[in-house]
Amino acid sequence: MKHYSAFAVAREALRYHTGWERAWRSPEPKKKYDVIIVGAGGHGLATAYYLGKNYGIQNVAVIEKGWLGGGNTGRNTTIIRSNYLQDPSAAIYEKARSLYEDLSQDLNYNIMFSPRGVMMLAQTQHEIRGYQRTAHANALQGVQTEWITPERVKELVPIINIDGPRYPVLGALWQERGGTARHDAVAWGYARACSAMGMDIIQQCEVTGVRSQDGRVVGVDTTKGSIDCDKLGVVVAGHSGQLAEMAGFRLPLEAIALQALVSEPIKPCMDVVVMANTVHGYMSQSDKGEMVIGGGTDGFNNYTQRGSFHHIEETVRALVETFPMISRLKMLRQWGGIVDMTGDRSPIISKTPLQGCFINGGWGTGGFKAIPGSGWGMAQLMATGHSPLTEAFSLDRFKEGRFIDESVAAGVAH
């Protein structure tokens, strides 16, 4: 793999960039792999990467129905934070956040992790209490967050209206080391690093069946033929239910549409990520200058990657109230993704009833920020059979009534 650096770019410039190699190979599938990961989104690729890097398992194929990073990895609002309330969530998201900090260097691919800070506004007494609770929990969980005053909010985000007549800003939970990253680059960087380890990333290859013998997975059927494996990781977000059905079990998941939008680009006016949960809106400004805005989810099952417009409307009116200056900006583009929701809105990273088959899904609206941690834990689970990071996210928690509910601190899982 050719090393990326400013010197390499300069060297290539002299020959008009004709010497760059492919970022990842595009091989035909082999007959058998130690591990097959289905789904070349961020989570799937990260799982493969850490299987190779941490456990030396490099005979791995990542199979993708469409193009890598083309699902929710490339459709989200790129927020990275770990200020979650419950222990298991805080653990996995903080692991992810800390891995993000070094990911550009680790992958030799600039994923543009930008620790610009994430702020969650408290606009009711209830939210104040919820976020103060989170701040206390975070301190014990090793997550750096703090409760800040409205004045400090205004200092960090001059364009915010803290005296809104409807919902004045009463304070905020501030995670200085949260931020954003370039979402596509995360998938591309992992893919390039996986490919460099000799793993096969097979795009345009749809899994049509899961083969098993005596209750144990032995391979998959695909549109590019049958491929054998010892272990199978299913990491396909909105399509988890379909894959599970092929493997002969069911998952407590539902697929719904989540929307987002961006404004036209303007010069930098907001350097942090702001989430306002009372009014249901969140916003950051990308390096291109677009205001990136997260919208809501529909209440019904939907596989269209389109959502209903009134959610956009609700989000925008909330943000116009919170940031009055955006009223005269214009919405450039809106889009939707399919997210998979569990009963407690927390993910599932688990063994399954089919031996050797593992599932990673149910990230709902909050998957991007978890990618490195999720891959790290999933790789550990697949390689060793156990991971403290993923233990609480097992499938059996629903039967036991052992939920991981993040909504309790009003910390909606964006």
Binding site: S5, A8, V9, A13, Y16, T18, W20, R22, R25, S26, W67, G69, G70, G74, D87, A90, A91, E101, S104, Q105, Y109, N110, M112, P115, R116, Q125, Q132, R133, T134, H136, A137, L140, A185, G189, E264, I266, K267, P268, D287, K288, R306, F309, V316, R317, V320, E321, P324, S327, R328, L329, K330, M331, L332, R333, Q334, W335, P388, G401, D405, S407
Partner: protein
């Protein structure tokens, strides 16, 4: 230079001069000008700078597809960045500034990037700025952010001066686009009797057909349009809106129309924009086509323009973009530009036609004396801020053997692409048309509506046909088809006959010259705004970013504010070629709404300021406001947190209220508590399912505190239930719980136990309810007179109907404070009068109103739980020691099965206790108690948390409630709560009832 012509200009009124400014310079234009045409008339070709390299940019188009001529428009609280000059109607006093440069448009420091462009190819930032790590955050990113971003941000302190609104419209057929196709489709549809709505984004009807010439039914196009418009205007079933753009097509026939009411006359009364939410049975997209640029080196130099745009400027606004023009084309249509320019007296130096042979239009051009060079290409356009000369070579080849010609403008045409956005937004599919080298709607795969049938019909150029006659025939058929699909019978009418000069076949030309070398490709722009060149797309393909989405994201092709209207097809073709694939196999990126950007203000509509969200008010709201209420939002309700007197802090006020209520008399506005009437022969059975306790056995006249769990076992609400008569109960819910619990009850009644005879009605707002609390509560009621509220006549946990003073009321003897307490419900229309009467009569008893914080402290002193404080959606009654409220007699109630699951029965669950700090301080809200060591993920082990914590003025110390592991078994133990303030709070585990443990005060 670009200049105003003496003649032409069908849209301008030369008798009405308009003054405006650009970058501070005052300029003149005419009414009917766009900002772009007026700038050109003033020889202002350069209108902005590109995004990445800050290269000089001139206007390239004449409509919505313009990527370059973006300006900051207006001032102060009417400033708007990134407005297209081409779609901005000129008005007197318009102010505009160009964007993305420093210090100014002519001299821009950022333009150094253009000299470094060789080092800044597509995706360079993924390969660079990796080391050293801190540099990304502190050095590289701030620099990149500053140089990106286009328009200036509106001032942070300015609130938009304008208002916006929505409107809901319903129609059988919606026609998007008011060109000849749209007009004709609307007529064809309307003749069937269908209700038709026709929307057009510009201020003019007829689209570009009047510019392009030809005849319709032997009349000039202008005349035809005029007649058709007046005909449609007289049809009662047709609604026409100009300045109203079709912004997006959504599921089930939902279409957004973006009407710009006042942008051309800012400050006028009424809303600036209106967002139409249109429901159409059928949608006709008559959105026309957009001309494609040609990819040759230097095609981004100001003065290079779309051929169609150039003739628009001449015909519509009487402006020529240059005096010596070269036309480059791969089709016949561009000859129209050459001819029109020539006829307007402009020097047309050559038509460079990549094809070997052209059609009759070329002949017409030649006869006018225009030199036509077949088989030729532009090798390179030279010039910095303005076209200076063009190097001409053979189309076949790498671009050698050039001839240079001096000129000041270049018109280019690479063929036409139908505007398929509206067709595609909701899932309509496209097919590749080889003859015209474009994607057009595939009629076999339209977007599907609620009934599973297609609901969009494409018409005219947006459907593929480009010749006037074909456009009209197609549009006429589309209008009829839409009417038919909407359930109407179209009239058997014929399309008008359009005649234009026959055109010879175009030839796909994706690169000029065909085998341009890398140095030329590095100067051949695809995306003018984002600075994406042919070489960038080729690089992406070479590096494995093969999917069209990868290429788009890696190079930023088509991600600019024009969303690739000019660049996408050209980019796709380059990608397909680089992959040795075919264009239809590569496919397009997804078309997403809106068609062009729409204002956030319009999206938000009326919902701003005082109508941003409803504020629910009790009948005594105004009194509270006038008497120092510090407001707290609870759901949409506003409740008084405390009544702050002059000179007091909120905290002082709370302490005063707490003490006064315990010592004298307090009044609480409890009107927000939900009140649901549940009635019927099965009401008791039903409530036994809803509540964990037994409600069917409650005696008439009595009250019982009830708990509600979800089917999943968690506490969702609580409140006092009163039995009104044999088959009627009144259930109180929490504030904000009324609608939720009403819905919850209806859900079970309608969807599970629909054979049970029960009716529920929400009567929350029928009543103003006042809690009269404190040792003097009975005295004040007795003073007002009326019903007997004595200990025997109205015992604790009972209710009576009667009169207090003059007021008809229902009095509940219930207490959430541990004090002697009544809750009195009177009709809402008399709430304020009743409150006044209590305040007046209570004077001698030391009456004070109290707010929600006081309410919270009083209940915490008594160890009463609060839904939302002690509960958070994860807490079950067993956690709170509420076993007594879980009926053991009942076989079933919501939540009962859930409580049997292993984790819910786990003895290690955290349980409710009281907490008393060792030093009397107040434990911080939300603090957690720590145990020994860390868990497997390195997190401190936690053994409990605070759920409610207050300073009790009555007890003179901090009190708290919390959930603690094995808590009730650990009375007297001291546990530690680390605060985020760096202190550790030590607290003793105690009984949660801090005040009046035997409950004597409420029973007097």
């Amino acid at each position: 230079m670009s200049t105003r012509l003496a003649k032409q200009g069908r849209l301008i009124d030369r008798s009405k001069q308009v003054t405006f400014t650009f970058n501070g310079t005052s300029m003149q234009g005419y009414e009917g000008d766009t900002l772009a045409s007026a700038l050109l008339a003033n020889d202002q070709m350069m209108m902005g700078r590109s995004f990445k390299y800050h290269r000089p940019r001139g206007v390239v188009a004449s409509g919505a597809e313009e990527p370059n001529a973006l300006v900051g428009l207006g001032q102060g609280n009417r400033f708007e960045p990134n407005q297209r000059a081409t779609t901005t109607e000129l008005f007197n006093g318009l102010t505009s500034v160009s964007q993305n440069h420093w210090p100014n448009l002519e001299f821009d420091i950022g333009a150094v990037n253009t000299h470094l462009s060789r080092f800044l190819p597509a995706g360079f930032y993924y390969k660079m700025f990796i080391h050293p790590k801190p540099f990304w955050k502190h050095v590289y990113e701030p620099f990149i952010r500053q140089s990106a971003g286009l328009g200036k941000a509106p001032d942070k302190d300015n609130r938009d001066a304008d208002t916006y609104e929505h409107f809901y419209a319903f129609t059988d057929v919606l026609v998007i686009g008011g060109g000849v196709a749209g007009l004709q489709a609307a007529k064809a549809a309307a003749q069937s009797g269908a209700k038709v709505m026709l929307i057009e984004q510009t201020a003019h009807w007829g689209g570009r057909a009047p510019v392009d010439g030809g005849t319709i039914d032997n009349e000039p196009v202008d005349k035809f349009v005029e007649q058709l418009v007046s005909e449609l205007e007289t049809m009662g079933n047709v609604t026409m809106r100009s300045r109203c753009m079709g912004a997006g097509v959504y599921d089930h026939g939902y279409v957004l129309g973006y009407e710009r009411l006042n942008d051309h006359k800012p400050g006028t009364q009424g809303p600036r924009h209106r967002l139409w939410r249109i429901r159409a049975k059928q949608v006709v997209t008559a959105t026309g086509a957009i001309e494609r640029p040609l990819s040759f080196a230097g095609n981004d130099v100001p003065g290079v323009m779309l051929a169609s745009a150039m003739r628009d400027y001449v015909v519509n606004w009487g402006v020529t973009p240059g005096e010596r023009v070269i036309v480059a084309t791969n089709n016949d249509d561009a000859y129209r530009t050459a001819i029109i320019l020539k006829q307007a007296g402009v020097d047309v130096l050559r038509v460079i036609d990549a094809r070997a042979a052209a059609g009759p239009l070329a002949e017409e051009a030649r006869q006018l004396g225009i030199r036509v060079d077949p088989g030729k290409a532009i090798a390179k356009v030279k010039g910095g801020k303005r076209v200076k000369k063009v190097a001409i070579c053979n189309q076949e080849g790498i671009g050698g053997a050039r001839e240079e010609v001096e000129c000041d403008a270049v018109a280019m045409s690479g063929g036409w692409s139908p505007v398929v956005h509206m067709w595609s937004h909701c899932g309509g599919k496209l097919i590749w048309d080889d003859a015209n080298a474009h994607f057009r709607p595939d009629p076999a795969r339209p977007p599907l509506g609620a009934n599973g049938e297609g609901f969009v019909v494409a018409a005219g150029a947006s459907n593929g046909p480009l010749a006037l006659g074909d456009v009209l025939t197609d549009a006429h058929a589309a209008g009829k088809a839409a009417a038919k699909a909407a359930g109407f019978k179209p009239k058997n009418t014929k399309a008008p006959a359009g005649e234009t000069t026959q055109e010879a076949a175009m030839q796909a030309v994706w690169l000029m010259p065909a085998n341009a070398d890398v140095q030329l490709r590095m100067k051949s722009w695809l995306d003018f705004q984002n600075d994406v060149k042919v070489s960038d797309v080729q690089l992406a393909a070479r590096e494995g970013y093969e999917s069209v989405e990868h290429t788009k994201r890696y190079t930023t092709l088509g991600m600019a504010t024009d969303q690739g209207k000019l660049s996408n097809i050209n980019g796709l073709a380059i990608l397909a070629d680089a992959l040795e694939s075919e264009i239809p196999k590569v496919g397009t990126t997804t078309f997403r709404p809106p068609y062009t950007p729409i204002s956030m203000g319009a999206i938000g509509g009326e919902a701003r300021g005082e109508v941003f969200q409803p504020i629910r008010q009790t009948p005594m709201h105004d009194w509270h406001d006038e008497n120092g209420a510090d407001w707290e939002p609870v759901g949409h309700w506003r409740r008084t947190y405390a009544y702050v007197r002059p000179g007091e802090s909120v905290h002082d006020a709370v302490n005063r209220e707490v003490k006064n209520t315990r010592e004298n008399l307090g009044l609480l506005d409890a009107s927000t508590l939900g009140k649901l009437i549940v009635k019927g022969p099965d009401a008791g059975k039903f409530l036994d399912m809803m509540y964990t306790n037994m409600m069917s056995t409650l005696k008439v006249g009595k009250c019982r505190y009830g708990l509600m769990c979800s089917e999943n076992g968690f506490l969702i609400d609580d409140g006092v239930v009163a039995r009104i008569d044999e088959d009627t109960w009144l259930c109180h819910t929490t504030t904000g719980g009324a609608e939720r619990i009403h819905g919850h009850m209806e859900e079970w009644l309608q969807t599970e136990w629909w054979d049970w005879k029960v009716y529920v009605a929400n009567v929350t707002e029928q009543y103003a309810q006042v809690a009269v609390v404190g040792p003097n509560a009975r005295k004040v009621l007795e003073k007002l007179g009326g019903m007997d509220v004595g200990k025997e006549a109205l015992p604790f946990m009972e209710w009576r109907d009667g009169k207090i003073g003059d007021f008809d009321c229902r009095a509940y003897r219930i207490s959430f404070s541990g004090e002697l307490s009544y809750e009195i419900a009177v009709p809402a229309s008399q709430g304020q009068a009743f409150w006044n009467a209590l305040m007046e009569a209570g004077k001698e008893f030391g009456v004070m109103p109290y707010g929600t914080e006081c309410l919270h402290i009083l209940r915490a002193e008594k160890g009463f739980i609060m839904i939302g404080d002690e509960t958070d959606g994860t807490v079950i009654p067993q956690d709170l020691g509420l076993h007594w409220a879980l009926s053991k007699k009942k076989e079933d109630y919501l939540g009962k099965r859930a409580h049997l699951r292993s984790h819910m029965a786990d003895p290690d669950r955290w349980k409710l206790v009281g907490l008393e700090t060792v030093d009397g301080s107040v434990i911080p809200d939300g603090a957690y108690a720590v145990g020994e060591g860390v868990n497997a993920n390195g997190q401190r082990n936690m053994i409990g948390r605070v759920t409610s914590t207050y300073y009790s003025a009555n007890l003179g110390k901090g009190i708290a409630m919390g959930l603690v592991k094995h808590g009730p078994d650990r009375m007297g133990e001291i546990i530690e709560f680390p605060g985020t303030d760096g202190k550790t709070y030590k607290a003793k585990i105690v009984d949660p009832i801090f005040y009046d443990k035997d409950g004597e005060k409420q029973n007097v």
